[in-house]
Structure formats: C-alpha cells, structure tokens
C-alpha cells in the first residue's frame, strides 16, 4: 500500500456562522467518515488548519494576512491514508463531507523522501 494525501478545499465564507446543531452534525459527519477509513485500517494521520490568524509570506519579506482575500477557495485540512491504488483512494474520498458543502478533495500520491 502507498500513502495518499487528501486535501480539502472549500469556498471561504467568513460570514457563515453555523448553529451549535449544525456544528455537531458536521463534526459527526467528519468523524464517521474518518472512522470508516480507520476501520479499514487505511488511516495514517490528519490535521485541520485554522482559518484564524494565518499569514502569507512573499518574496522580499512581504507579509499579508491569510490567503483569503486573494483566493476563492481555502485549504481547510488534510488527511493521509494508505491504499493500494489511486482508484481505491478515490473511493475513500467519495464519502468526504467537504463534498456536501460544495467543496472538493484533491487526492495526491505521497512520494516518500529518502533523507
């Protein structure tokens, strides 16, 4: 099995304030999806990325707040899975909750570095 990284992207909606019920339902969707991958023994690791207080550094020490003003979609987090093929990884991605809010999942093969 090789590792694949799935990167979650969705539209930046700073004004969207979910209700506690919506939050809870969303958390459950994510937990169930990841639990399903883990139950297949294919989970490697995951992280969420904060949308608060992020910075972008550009050449000549130019620093700006977040990427949000300039891009339409932001990266919300990623998961690393192991699977036998890209097809299989795409099947795992199919249940990703980001798809239900209009976002997308980018699936990339991880190339191990021999350091």
């Amino acid at each position: 099995m090789t590792e694949f990284m799935m990167i979650f992207r969705s539209e930046y909606q700073p004004d969207f304030k979910p209700t506690p019920e919506q939050m809870e339902a969303s958390i459950k969707q994510w937990q169930d999806w990841m639990g399903s991958i883990a139950a297949q023994g294919k989970f490697v690791g995951t992280n969420r990325l904060s949308s608060v207080g992020s910075k972008v550094l550009k050449p000549n020490n130019v620093v700006s707040d977040g990427p949000f003003a300039e891009v339409k979609e932001i990266v919300g987090g990623y998961i690393v899975v192991k699977s036998n093929s890209m097809e299989e990884a795409m099947e795992l991605a199919a249940g990703c909750p980001i798809l239900q809010v209009g976002g997308n999942v980018e699936v990339r093969n991880v190339i191990p570095m021999n350091m």
């Binding site: 169930d32 639990g35 883990a38």
Partner: protein, 409 residues
C-alpha cells in the same frame, strides 16, 4: 490440612514479595538463585508446619528462614558465592553484614521495580504474561499452562528463555527515572492489559482461573495507582476499563459455564460496586490532557455498563470507536464500530461499511455479516454464519454460531 491451606495462601501473597526483594538484591542475573531460595523456604515451611504445627506468625517465619537461607547460600554455596558475592562486592556490599531488607517499604519498591523489569518488550508478550504470572503473581507452572491451554514443559521452556533474555540484556531491577516513567509505564500497561484480556477472553473453560487472571491484572494495576510515581491518568483509565468489564463477570457465563452474550445478560447480576469503582477511576483518569486508548476503551465500557437505555448511547459508542480507530486500529474495534453503526444508522448502511473491512479470515467478521443480513437475506446470513463456524476455533464460539444458525433454519 489447615497448614496446607495457610501455605497455599502465603504462597500467593508472600512468594512474589520474597522473590522481588531477593532479585533486587542479587540482580536479575541471579533470578534462578532467588527462586531456589524462596522455593526452599516454602518447602521447609511445608515440612515443618505439618509436623510441628503453624508458627505464631507464619509470614514472619518465612521471612526469617528466607534471610537465613540467603546467608547460608552466601557462605556455603560455591557457585553462588563466586558469582553473587563478586557482584555484590562490586557494588561495595560485603557478605559479612549483608542483610536482606524485608521492610514494607523495600518490599513495595522491589515489587514495583520487578514489574518494570518483567513488563519489557525485549521478551515476547506471552512470555511477559507467563513471567508476570509466575514472578509477580506467584502462580504455579501448572496454572499458567492451564491458562495458555498448553503443557508444563512448554511453559517452563518459555519462562526459561524469557529469564535468559532478561539476563543477557542485563535488565536492571530498579525504578525508572522520572523522565522515562511514561514511556516505560506504557509497556507495563500493555502487559497488564494483555494479562487481563488473557483472563477475560481466554478460551480455557476454567472460569475460576480466568477470573483469577483478571483479578491479578487488577491487583497489579491498583499497585501502580497506590504508588505516587506511577499513579498516572492512563493507569487510572486502564483500571476503570478493568472494573467495568469485571462488573459483568457473573453475568457473562451461565451455571454450565457457557457464555451469555451481552444482550441476553441478566443486568441484576452486574456488580454495582465495581461499576461505581470504574466510574471513580474514570473520573480520576480525566486529570490531564492525555487521551490514551485506555481512556477511550474505558469510556466505551462505561456506556456498556449503564443500565438505562440512554437515547444517545450507541451514538456515543460509535464516536468513541471512530476515535479509538484513529489512534489504534484493531480488527475487533473495526467490527465493534460497525456493530455500533448498525445501531445508529441501521443495518443496511452497516452492511455497506462491513463489506469494506476486508476481514475474510476472521470469524467475528462473518458472524457480524450474518447478524446484519438476518433481516434482509436469510440465505446470505446463513452463508456467513457457516463461514464463521468453519473459521471459529473455540467450543464456546462454535456454540454461539450454531445457535444462531439453528434460529435461522
């Protein structure tokens, strides 16, 4: 006969203390000498007491005899003398005033150090459990053989090799340093968890022995809780887990010694006292940031120990399994997660998830599919139960599956 009973009882409580103190004094290299001295002590007790009756304080008698025997060995036994005395001298001790310290404090410290020496990943898990049962719990070789469904020779060989490993690796019998406690404690907990599971899920029919294994694992875990240096959150979590499971001991087998599955258990037989203790340890385990697999498993066991049918019970259990699988995958957790999913999302969704698990060699996998298909497709249900039957090894497992099949046909 009363003497026999007392000796048996003392063997269970004092053997491990004497061994621990002697091993700590001599070093692990001379573990066999320590065992010889303690065995000789008990042999002498058995001879003397049956003839002359019990001494006033039997335990103190044992301690005095063990001390004297140690001195005798040091003075008269050539091999013992050459090897151990040389080692002791290296450490600046002298035989003339060498005294075994059998104070309560040193017994405790020695036992704790011994736990860390034995629960060591350099020896295979089943040897760790065997050695723990022998050295830390004072079990007889025949009892250990019984627990592992094997014979005495196999156990003797296994223990011999394990001791050899500890000797060649020059494992020190001492308390870990403060900075390494957490890492070493992790190994200890793994062994105690396995020891407990050996009793709880063992295939041996001997229910008394199984219960004893679990109680020993609990005793050792509690021993860690009693010691300030090892009273950590994950130790309390493991203790909670053990209490919750143990609360169902009397409910999980019937008068014939056959297993009673969770759903069919008489909840009145659950041990309320142990459930309460489990709750207490679970609360203590919440101190600190750490969430170990023992925390999650204890929380799952907590939900299984509630008698009230809380509406969200299975949702909580499902999320806990989701969490557990992220940090520690095991086939049985994957199957339990899918069962919990069938309770929250229905059997149809659970079937789709079960198929992805890919555990075709596992009889529990086929039993789960048999259960899930029962309402949809009896033929498929029977097909899976039959596969489960062909894969199951223990008599108890086969019985359960056969009963399911009978109900379907």
């Amino acid at each position: 006969m009363a003497e026999d009973k007392v000796i048996q009882q003392l063997f269970k409580t004092e053997y491990r203390k004497l061994i621990a103190v002697l091993c700590k004094s001599f070093g692990i290299i001379h573990i066999e000498h320590a065992e010889d001295i303690v065995n000789d002590t008990f042999l002498l007790a058995s001879e003397k007491w049956t003839k002359e009756g019990l001494p006033v304080n039997p335990a103190a008698w044992l301690y005095t005899v063990a001390k004297n025997k140690t001195k005798d060995h040091l003075k008269h036994d050539k091999i013992f003398n050459d090897k151990i005395v040389a080692d002791l001298k290296q450490h600046g001790d002298f035989v003339e005033n060498f005294e075994i310290d059998l104070s309560i404090g040193n017994i405790k410290d020695s036992q704790l150090a011994m736990i860390f020496a034995i629960c060591n990943p350099i020896i295979p898990p089943e040897s760790q459990i065997g050695l723990a049962l022998r050295i830390l719990c004072g079990f007889g070789i025949d009892e250990i053989a019984d627990a592992f469904l094997t014979n005495k020779e196999t156990i003797n060989k296994r223990l011999f090799r394990a001791k050899e490993k500890l000797r060649t690796a020059k494992i020190k019998i001492e308390l870990p340093l403060q900075f390494e406690i957490n890492e070493r404690l992790e190994n200890v907990l793994t062994t105690l968890y396995l020891l407990y599971n050996e009793g709880y899920y063992s295939t041996t029919q001997n229910t008394i022995l199984r219960k004893e294994l679990c109680l020993e694992a609990m005793r050792l875990t509690y021993f860690l809780i009693e010691n300030e240096t090892t009273n950590k959150a994950n130790v309390n979590a493991l203790m909670a887990l053990m209490c919750f499971h143990a609360s169902r001991f009397d409910a999980r087998t019937n008068e014939l010694g056959e297993p009673v599955l969770y759903d069919n258990q008489d909840k009145n037989l659950w041990d309320e006292d142990l459930i309460l203790k489990g709750n207490t340890f679970l609360i203590k385990s919440a101190a600190g940031e750490e969430v170990s697999k023992y925390h999650i498993e204890a929380s799952i066991a907590f939900w299984h120990s509630t008698k009230l049918e809380h509406t969200n019970k299975w949702e909580h259990i499902l999320q806990l399994y989701n969490q557990l699988l992220l940090i520690d995958y095991s086939p049985i957790s994957a199957l339990n997660r899918t069962y919990a999913l069938s309770k929250t999302a229905g059997k149809a969704i659970a079937i789709a998830e079960a198929i992805k698990l890919n555990l075709h060699e596992n009889h529990f996998y086929h039993s789960l599919l048999g259960y899930l298909y029962t309402d949809f497709d009896v033929k498929l249900a029977i097909y899976h139960y039959e596969l489960a039957l062909s894969l199951a090894k223990s008599k108890n497992d086969k019985n359960i599956i056969e009963n399911r099949l009978k109900a379907l046909r």
